[in-house]
């Protein structure tokens, strides 16, 4: 489902003396449908960078990055956007929304974007918000004023509302209490069971061992270590 072939990444900082930072070189790995893989390594090792490259958020200097057969590294913007709408979900650590838009609308949006009816989208969104213990009286309010944990749960609801065949999860359980963490872990299990390929970053070891099939240490991708 997700396959990386000889991928390399560098950052060139033109405005800071054209410093070149080699982040990773010659990375190859593959993740099958129904598999959950954890990226590990110390802070700064390149876990989030790798994840953002798979999402097409960061550019890739060399190699191929195939998600469901689409090479994210070389695809046209509209191809990447279609891929993100239909195939590849991403739950980031932070919620980024248009101010003033109600929570229910935020969670519905991914389904509306792929042409589902408003009724279907709202029913599914309500189901997830309930599951994630967001009280119904907050659904009509913008999540920008919510607490950190609530925002993260809204973010997760939005990420899981559509059944993406491939998902990227950046610390989905950070800043959640035990009860909500269990809900998120069960959502991940469900996604795996329906055949989603998942790449995740979990600092929480318990969560990692509960859902992940294997771990990939990104430190080994660094050209400095090699």
């Amino acid at each position: 489902m997700i396959e990386l072939q000889n991928v390399s990444k560098t950052f060139t900082l033109h405005n800071q003396g054209s410093a070149v930072i080699n982040v990773m070189s010659d990375v190859s790995l593959s993740i099958k449908a129904g598999e959950c893989v954890a990226l590990t390594g110390a802070s700064g090792a390149g876990k989030s960078t790798l994840m953002r490259m798979i999402y097409g958020n960061y550019s890739t200097q060399a190699g191929k990055l195939l998600v469901n057969g689409v090479d994210v590294a070389s695809a046209e913007p509209r191809e990447v956007i279609t891929l993100r709408r239909e195939t590849l979900g991403y739950v980031s650590q932070f919620l980024r929304v248009v101010p003033r838009v109600p929570t229910l609308e935020v969670v519905c949006e991914p389904l509306l974007m792929i042409g589902q009816s408003r009724d279907t989208a709202e029913a599914r969104a309500k189901e997830l918000l309930t599951q994630l213990n967001i009280p119904e009286r907050l659904w009509g309010l913008s999540p920008t004023t919510f607490s950190g944990g609530e925002q993260q749960r809204v973010n997760i609801a939005r990420g899981f509302v559509h059944t993406y065949p491939a998902m990227l999860l950046d610390e989905p359980t950070a800043s959640l209490d035990a009860r909500n963490r269990a809900v998120v872990l069960s959502l991940i299990q469900e996604a795996k069971a329906r055949g989603a390929a998942i790449v995740g970053i979990f600092h929480d070891e318990e969560a990692r061992s509960a859902v992940c099939d294997r771990e990939i240490d990104v430190t080994t991708f660094s050209p400095v270590a090699a």
């Binding site: 953002r52 958020n57 550019s59 913007p77 101010p99 003033r100």
Partner: protein, 256 residues
Amino acid sequence: MTPLLSVKDIRKTYGSHIGCTDVSFDLYPGEVMGIVGESGSGKSTLLSCLAGHLEPDQGAVNFDTRDRGLIDTVQMSEPERRMLSRTDWAFVHQHARDGLRMGVSAGGNVGERLMAVGDRHYGDIRSKAVDWLERVEISETRVDDRPSTFSGGMQQRLQIARNLVTGPRLVFMDEPTGGLDVSVQARLLDLLRGLVRDMGLSAIIVTHDLAVVRLLADRLMVMKSGRVVETGLTDQVLDDPQHEYSQLLVSSVLQV
């Protein structure tokens, strides 16, 4: 898939000064493209050339017309181009008063575009106008008021209603949220996003506000001194800019 708009090698100079040069791109149905760059980078000149407000010195702006397929609008006759700008195209100006008729009622502003494409039944025109005013969150009770009595944000929303009532396929926007206070901006952005999604619009948005393109645009074009220096997926250009100027632009944004 046929692009909706295919731009080839556009160049516009003002005497010896370059307005914009070497610009080529394809825009596909449903795509929203942002054009960013500092003042004087040529983004408004380019938009004017694309929308037929300025004649480029060279190049072609091919539009996928409903009846004849891809046609170069630069070579079109003036009446044809005017017809296009009343039907399949829309242009949202930075200053609403440039796109509205200030002496005509709000309903009249919306209705005028419908009459221009042949609607004659007054009752239908009025009810469509009221419907659109509601979609842009202007109360029905204001339908007979002149836009000169509206606030800046309302005028901008009225301009959008006037432009979208004929169901265009391509919308050009020049700083659509410029000059509005931030709370009105957020509301307008939300409205535009919904309209783009529900109507399947394609749009080209010129702005210097990176937050606006992040929310609205699928892809981005960064201009500097009349040339395109970087293009790509919006979040990729903003989060991992490759060109020296794009890096400077992105790192210069003040954090709130």
